[in-house]
């Protein structure tokens, strides 16, 4: 794990607050983001990965947030060219090399819009991430969400 990850300031446990996310690089999409990297207003950078979603509409999504070194954002911008990037297979390796710097999961976030209203945020330990499958109970959500596994993987 990278040792230069800054102490977290962007996220706090809570409900219904405005997203601290300022910019998003989207690497995965299915009617909405599934994975990528985000930068908060205070410069904190996180990899995000979809953990669960509302099964009928996929509108409400639960993401895991993994801290990254602040400098990783500029590294990714240099590769991807900026927000609005559309995934290109030939850039997979350099992108993977950067996002590999992500640390252990710190937060679980439930939202319909990563840059809009955040419905629920809860701190999480890596061992909990491996164990939890009922995200409704973990986050206290009234809407049903279904676990999709650690990462969104479509088999060929």
């Amino acid at each position: 794990m990278n040792k230069q990850i800054s102490p977290n300031q962007s996220w706090r446990e809570g409900v219904n607050y405005s997203s601290p996310v300022q910019k998003v690089l989207i690497f995965g999409w299915y009617d909405g983001p599934t994975d990528g990297v985000l930068q908060c207003g205070d410069g904190q950078v996180y990899r995000f990965d979809l953990l669960a979603w509302e099964p009928a509409t996929q509108d409400l999504r639960v993401f895991g947030l993994f801290p990254m070194p602040s400098a990783s954002w500029e590294q990714l911008i240099a590769i991807c060219g900026g927000p609005g990037f559309r995934w290109q297979e030939q850039l997979r390796q350099p992108i993977e090399d950067v996002i590999r710097q992500a640390g252990d999961v710190e937060w679980v976030v439930a939202t319909e819009d990563l840059q809009g209203e955040i419905l629920r945020v809860k701190a999480i330990r890596p061992d909990e991430l491996a164990r939890v499958t009922n995200w409704n109970a973990f986050l206290g959500l009234t809407q049903e969400v279904h676990d999709i596994g650690p990462y969104l993987k479509f088999e060929e």
Partner: protein, 97 residues
């Protein structure tokens, strides 16, 4: 198998409204630059309705929009604005009538 048409799978089995399709297409346009909705030619993570790609392409443009997790992600481009007729056709193609 060679010669078999690509099968597009869209999560969910229920009919989709003009409002929902319009919202999802607008989100995709903002993020991906294509006014459309997601399907996969791979294995979907959940119940999905299906349509052969050639059938869909008779009416809508299908873009190969691979993602980090799904190299077989596709985006079906929908007209802007999405009319009731277009939504009905989309649902019909995926057997959601």
């Amino acid at each position: 198998m060679a010669g078999e048409p690509e099968i597009l799978k869209r999560l969910g089995m229920s009919r989709e409204s003009v409002v929902r399709l319009s919202r999802k297409a607008a989100e995709a346009e903002a993020a991906l630059g294509i006014h459309g909705v997601s399907v996969t030619a791979g294995t979907p993570r959940g119940p999905a309705s299906t349509a052969p790609r050639p059938n869909v392409e008779q009416h809508f443009c299908v873009h190969n929009t691979s993602t980090r997790a799904d190299p077989l992600h596709r985006t079906i481009e929908l007209p802007k604005p999405i009319t009731q007729q277009a939504a009905d056709l989309f649902n019909q193609l995926f057997g959601r009538s």
